[in-house]
Assembly symmetry: C3
Homo-oligomer: 243 residues x 3
């Protein structure tokens, strides 16, 4: 079996550490895996001023610093915004883009353009009250994000989240072309129990089909399958990322 280089890019409120259990499964299969933490989600980062471009540039820095080549670049949720921009900034390092229930923006869109209005209204209020940092209320996390966990795991995982710089949800993305025109191979992994977005305004096919020709892979589990079933999401990422 071919072994590849994977870079797993976390979503909002997460760091690379939350993807470690999944990375371990991929490493056990012989792959090289990096789980960088994006600018804005590191301890001490300025939550009020870090924007989407900062986050993407920090990912590019990480790829360059480790001199990674032929990378399968995997973005989860908000990470889809970041990998889309990264595909513009350093395509020469990438072999494939893999979106895991991730946002696929059109040029000039921001993340908030892609979520239901009741989320935006909620986030606006939370960020205004917390110096530009947004958190997810526990009931939404527990019911809609990590619906496949038991109560203890839901709480334990929630306790690991960090305040997220809201500016990254508001900044329009700079893309030289729609993702459908991006010549890199692309995959979309859809976890069947993901209800972080309502299904009628959901990940797949609404956002996946913006990729043009792409490889579709299903996985069991919720939006937070990284906590609830790392083996399943690792297997799906391998199916999505291989040549």
């Amino acid at each position: 079996m071919a072994t590849n280089t994977y870079v797993l890019v976390h979503g909002a409120w997460h760091t690379g550490a939350e993807l470690d259990a999944t990375a371990e499964r991929l490493r056990a299969r012989g792959h090289t895996v990096h789980c960088p933490t994006l600018a804005g989600n590191r301890p001490g980062d300025d939550r009020a001023r870090t924007g989407l471009e900062d986050a993407a540039r920090s990912l590019v820095d990480d790829l360059e610093q480790h001199q990674l080549q032929q990378v399968r670049l995997v973005g989860h949720s908000y990470g889809g915004m970041v990998i889309s921009r990264t595909a513009d900034l350093c395509p020469q390092r990438l072999a494939r883009l893999v979106y895991v229930n991730a946002f696929v923006p059109q040029p000039g869109e921001c993340l908030n353009d892609l979520v239901p209005p009741h989320y935006t209204a909620l986030f606006d209020g939370v960020a205004a009250a917390n110096g530009g940092a947004v958190m997810l209320p526990f009931p939404i996390w527990r019911e809609a994000f990590i619906n496949d966990a038991d109560g203890a795991l839901a709480q334990q995982a929630f306790d690991r989240l960090n305040p997220h710089p809201y500016k990254t949800f508001q900044d329009p993305i700079t893309l030289s072309q729609p993702m459908a025109a991006c010549p890199l191979p692309k995959s979309y992994v859809n976890c069947r129990m993901d209800s972080a977005l309502p299904q009628s305004l959901g990940w797949h096919p609404r956002l996946s089909e913006r990729l043009g020709l792409f490889r579709y892979i299903e996985c069991s589990g919720s939006h937070e399958v990284w906590f609830t079933d790392p083996a399943a999401i690792a297997a799906a990422i391998e199916q999505a990322g291989r040549d």
Copy 2:
């Protein structure tokens, strides 16, 4: 693991007895489980005059008689109408509502408002010819309701069904508020092979999203998974019902 109290509320044409195999799986996990039979589906009940309010009141009586508290109230199909009304009548006894491919009405709707017109036309004719009781023709049962069974099980299960009081499909429900505004926690279990409603006018997300914030759980199997895979639906109900 926490153990809870579950009350499983059957759908049209069924009684509590058909949910016993599923209840046994939940009991084996330490839970307390009741499977009452609603007014209208008991031997000798007046199929011509029993309505939705009678069915809901009979469920409330059952909860009160057994002095149940902190109930995870699970409704299947037509049972979704009944648990929705029950949430209005005795919320103080309930910890969570769990809909299993179940109807979620808006205030003033009846079940017939939520099914395709060809079902209503069929039911009208059958009920008119049978003193207000409605039955499902075997071919619809076999192909669209219990599609995952073999022929012998499909027939055996069909033989256990009882004529259903059609008035319960026609009575508009009384609800003090839309279910989305009901403050009880809510879950929706969706069996992936359920085709009792056509998918384009289906259970999820059309009816599930009426719950507002809810926990989404998928299960394998058809509308009649109680007969074809009690272990699977018991596991899904536990995922849906736990805190």
Copy 3:
């Protein structure tokens, strides 16, 4: 368990041989299984002139030659066009129609009426340059048709495909009635990772619901599950085909 007679009808670019691995699983369960190759896909067939009616007549010839009765007639993809016409030509030999991610035409439609315009444009060009025979470019095959395979299997399966007579995609079908009115029992098998058609213009429910009352069966895998998981598709076909 009842044993039945199955005839598996391949899709475009395939022959009966590619369905053999699946047929073997059904035979191991006691069933009789035929996998004929349709006119137009046999070595030496005239790819420029073979049309849909020729393909259907060749299937009828095969059923008659082997004097098959009570056939569960299974059509995959383009094979759905062929079995729909065959149900009109010799219904007396058939017990049930089983569509496996297959086209369900209305009277007078051709296959090209049922695919996205970008496919038709692509096929037009390829067929014009190849004497009326159409092939699938490898990247589309690999990403959208056999998305669940590894690279080696994707290539190996691609090497077995044969040029397909494009006229069979262009010929309007002759049907005496819409398939919903056809009195034969019908089933639809949907492979959950099938992305040969975009989901927003997909197999199920868009095409399946044209069958009227039908039995819905889900299967894991992609459009080319015959290569990637013959055991899974054989089990689904048995669920779909039994009485």
